[in-house]
């Protein structure tokens, strides 16, 4: 969203009224009153129908005991929220257990998904034979659906019949790790698979950012005697800052919204330990028909996500150079 705003801002400033041709520019401005709305309309309709209305309707649902198959949907005020904050109740344990699982996953997957793709992108930005082939290889897993990677890795990682443990055994490594049925191994599996699956996407964005950094800057840095590491710190990273903030935010949101991997690979197990927040919300709302409680959980999750996003914005804010 930020990048869009920034990019959208620049051309309008460029298109500010020019001293010449006043009559024609007034003509344009007169048209302009309706024109932006018309251009916005296709997206605006979709936005209202699929984002704005559900947001408001969801808030309304969260104030009720809402089972869409039943005629009576009694109003309970903030009861659904209160229940989520009352220790000892079923919803409290399930929801905060799921939030904790989400937190663990996010904590480990986000840093890895920021660093590894950057390394890959820097490697792929270099000129070497077969570069396009390797770029495609790194990106390839991302085109697979979560169902494909989930089911595939569930069998590969199975601790009794899976290939991963079999090959680890051949290499003399421990071959009895329960990748999908015990923690912390399940977290290693979930984070590992997610990194393997989505690193291509982040790498492509980094790559685009890297190609945007003017070569002259590197040249100048070399002239000043900067080592490759110094070039990376002083040229590459600052040049990537807008891209970094975008990648961080997108990765963060994707990690907090993780669902398919644990649903398919661990079935939320052992017990409920790898049930993420979205898993819990989907289960509560869609399988158990407690839409009110599920909507309340969604709003609490959203608040967390918004707070985290603000932190990211703050971290990547434009800093005035003190030097």
């Amino acid at each position: 969203m930020t990048t869009l705003k920034q990019e959208g801002g620049a051309p309008s400033r460029k298109g500010a009224p020019r001293p010449s041709g006043t009559s024609s520019s007034r003509e344009i401005r007169k048209q302009a009153a309706a024109t932006p709305w018309l251009f916005l309309a296709p997206y605006l309709v979709l936005f209202i129908a699929f984002v704005l209305v559900p947001i408001i309707f969801g808030a309304w649902i969260s104030l009720h005991t809402w089972d869409y198959t039943r005629p009576l949907k009694p109003f309970v005020g903030l009861g659904n929220y209160a229940e989520l904050f009352r220790p000892g109740t079923g919803p409290f344990n399930n929801f905060w257990g799921a939030m904790q699982a989400t937190g663990i996953f996010t904590l480990f997957s986000v840093p890895l998904l920021l660093v590894i793709p950057l390394a890959v992108a820097i490697l792929m930005a270099k000129k070497f034979p077969g570069r396009n082939f390797f770029r495609a290889v790194y990106f390839a897993p991302y085109v697979l659906g979560v169902a494909v990677i989930g089911v595939m890795w569930r069998y590969l990682l199975d601790n009794n019949i899976g290939l991963v443990n079999y090959y680890m055994g051949l290499l003399g490594l421990p071959s009895d790790i329960a990748w999908t049925t015990s923690t912390p191994a399940a977290w290693v599996a979930l984070v590992g698979v997610t990194v393997w699956w989505t690193l291509g996407f982040n790498a492509v964005i980094y790559l685009a950012g890297l190609q945007d950094i003017p070569a002259e800057l590197y040249e100048a840095a070399r002239m000043d005697g900067a080592t490759p590491w110094q070039q990376f710190i002083n040229v590459t990273l600052p040049g990537l800052r807008p891209v970094l903030s975008f990648v961080t935010l997108v990765t963060l949101i994707a990690s907090v919204n993780m669902f398919g991997q644990s649903y398919l690979m661990t079935q939320g197990g052992p017990g409920r330990e790898t049930r993420t927040a979205i898993y819990q919300i989907a289960d509560t709302g869609l399988r158990n028909f407690q839409m009110g409680s599920a909507a309340a959980m969604s709003y609490v999750l959203t608040l967390f996500l918004m707070a985290l996003s603000l932190v990211v914005f703050w971290l990547f804010r434009e800093r005035k150079d003190v030097r």
């Binding site: 309706a34 039943r70 199975d158 601790n159 009794n160 197990g269």
Partner: protein
């Protein structure tokens, strides 16, 4: 905001578009309005040609058989075309209420016995008493529990097609090598068989799954031990009674005693069985065709009676009619003809591995020579979940989690099942309040 003329024209255009849509909608709805489906059902359908959408969850070895029967039905009925839509049962129970509420439900479908009361309470399905009358179906032709479970608040909602239970599958080659001549039938002979299999070099002969169908094994064992897992009347779950705990302790004991590896993830016990990595597995009788196709040498027997009573978990597939937003009497009649035909031809359904629900069909020799014949003999020892609305959710949220934790050894059987039983009782209490019985 905008130029007045422009906006007026815009509004007019929008209004025209809207009314066009509304008109379309009205014509589509035209002629309907009555709440009740159909008039008297006569058992025959001679109206105009209709197409019925038929939902089911036969995704396993039973799917191709159902498809074949549907094709036969279509060939025999010129004016009815049944189009089936097959999906995973878990998705099925999620989608059906949504589709019916949105007025997009199917015309006919099949669901499990233990879901009927839930769906009836949710007003997703409609009573089929008249159909049962026309078909002259009575409780005499069915196992009492199966027949009674189709009734919710004095109305019948399901026409049973089959019953299906857990069974014990074993690898006959392994048994031969271990020198076991007969399928074990009780705790002692079962343990003896496991020991012999281990002695013959099969280190882990009986894998104890951590998830499905472990909770069905648990229910069977609880019933065998004289425990009633759910008390619908009192909204109470009894998994953690001393008899209930013995059941889960036996399951965990299989792992502790080394007959099973630990951490058996979902489906792997079955895949391992097909690959000859273990020797015995308990699974549903609907797997016969799948095992047959795998070409392995196996046999099936009723699960052994580990405790005092002969008992095994079972369920039943039931035909139902969904509630329609715009009832079409022709379609409703055609759907009833379809259900009647399926019920009458349920002998053929035995080919899917299931046991026809009607005693009369079984008596005519539908199961002669079929692999499930031996299991069908024990039809009286089959136990079903009580017809309590919301029981499906209670199972997945509590019993399955508890069994999972206990079998994995994450928690002691007692802790895991006590927590599960408490949660189950709370949920049942809530369900009772919400469904207002």
């Amino acid at each position: 905001m905008t130029h007045p003329k422009r906006s007026l024209r815009g509004r007019l255009q929008a209004a025209t578009a809207l009314s066009a849509v509304a008109l379309l909608g009205l014509t589509a709805c035209g002629g309907s309005g009555s709440e009740q489906a159909a008039s008297e059902f006569t058992g025959e359908y001679d109206g105009p040609a209709v197409e019925l959408s038929y939902w089911n969850g036969f995704t396993g070895g039973d799917g191709p058989f159902m498809e074949k029967m549907v094709e036969e039905f279509n060939a025999e009925h010129e004016n009815i075309k049944v189009v089936s839509n097959t999906m995973q049962w878990a998705d099925f129970y999620q989608r059906l209420p949504a589709a019916v509420t949105a007025g997009e439900g199917p015309d006919v479908g099949v669901m499990h016995l233990d879901q009927l009361s839930t769906m009836a309470a949710r007003n997703v399905i409609v009573p089929v008493d008249d159909l049962a009358d026309t078909l002259e179906l009575t409780g005499d032709d069915f196992t009492q529990e199966v027949w009674d479970a189709g009734v919710y608040q004095d109305e019948r909602f399901g026409i049973p097609l089959d019953v299906h239970s857990l069974a014990m599958y074993y690898n006959t080659e392994h048994f031969e090598k271990a020198g076991i001549t007969e399928a074990p039938t009780d705790a002692a002979s079962f343990e003896d068989a496991l020991k012999k299999l281990q002695a013959a070099g099969y280190d882990t002969p009986f894998w104890m799954p951590a998830l499905w169908p472990s909770h069905l094994m648990n229910l069977s064992l609880q019933w065998q031990n004289g425990n009633e897992p759910y008390d619908g009347e009192a909204s109470q779950a009894n998994f953690a009674s001393s008899e209930g705990l013995e059941a889960i302790e036996w399951q965990r004991g299989i792992v502790d005693d080394g007959y099973s590896p630990s951490n058996v993830a979902i489906d792997s016990q079955y895949v391992a069985f097909k690959n000859g990595e273990n020797s015995i597995t308990w699974d549903g009788i609907w797997q016969f065709n799948d095992l047959e196709a795998s070409g392995m040498s196996y046999a099936a027997a009723p699960i052994p009676t580990i405790f005092d009573e002969k008992a095994v978990w079972a369920s039943s597939h039931n035909f139902f009619l969904p509630r329609q937003a715009q009832p079409d009497p022709d379609k409703a009649d055609a759907a009833k003809v379809f259900i009647a035909w399926m019920s009458e031809n349920s002998a053929e359904w035995a080919g899917s591995g299931m046991i026809p629900a009607r005693e009369s069909v079984r008596a005519e020799g539908a199961l002669d020579g079929m692999p499930q014949e031996a299991i069908a003999e024990d039809v009286d020892s089959m136990r079903f979940l009580p017809a309590v609305p919301g029981i499906g959710q209670v199972q997945t949220e509590t019993l399955e989690v508890g069994v999972n934790k206990a079998v994995l050894g994450e928690e002691s059987p007692e802790d895991a099942m006590t927590e599960a039983a408490d949660n189950a009782s709370t949920l049942m209490e809530e369900n009772k309040a919400s469904f207002g019985e």
